[in-house]
Amino acid sequence: MLILTRKLGESIRIGDDIKIVVSDIKGKQIRIGIEAPEDVSIHREEVYQMIQEQNLLAAQFDHKGDKELVHLWKRLKKQKEERK
């Protein structure tokens, strides 16, 4: 990983169109400003990880065949009945 030292107000460029600015420093917290093209998604790392993991998990539902969702629907209904 590339490590750079920056002072308050200084910035970093990534490629032609991404700019990262150190906008405030308070103790152990740093506020960072980011300028990037609108279709670049920017997330806090932990949020990104969480959503990515959930997406990967969801994509694993790879039952072959065509009637899976119908079965799923019936099963959901059955589960509801059983709870009554």
């Binding site: 998604s41 990515q52 959930q54 072959k64 119908v70 799923l72």
Partner: protein, 165 residues
Amino acid sequence: MNISTTRFGDINIDESTIVHMKGGILGFEHFKRYALLTHDVNIPFWWFQSVDDGSIAFVVINSFMVRADYEPVISGSEVELLKIESPEDVVLMSIVTISTDPFTITANLKAPIVINSKNRLARQVVIQEPDYPLRYSIADPEMLAKGDENIYISGIKNISSELAP
């Protein structure tokens, strides 16, 4: 156009119905084009099938069917990016996670796929406000059935005939 899928075999998609992702689905950013598939219009679950890679598909559901009071705040930059002109054009889809043992089914309300039904641009948006769950349990079919009144998106490919044996 014809696409080969691992789940449904070869299917023919009308190109004008393809949903174009801006920024992609997190973890699947390289795949930008998706088709919405159903094989039974009475079932609220659909497939969000990648056009670029036939092995990638997600089960999705209209977010409002999962929670009728769903009111995520979508930021101005997202609205601009997707060229949304009117709230009525917005369709929110939640990715569904299904596990069979034990049988649980949840919908992702934290990061819905926001689709502009007019131009078919879409993006998986992380909702900051309010804080919705990533795994919201779906357990009430009756509640889901009520959501049928919700306006849907056109161009959902019905693949039941193509899949008939």
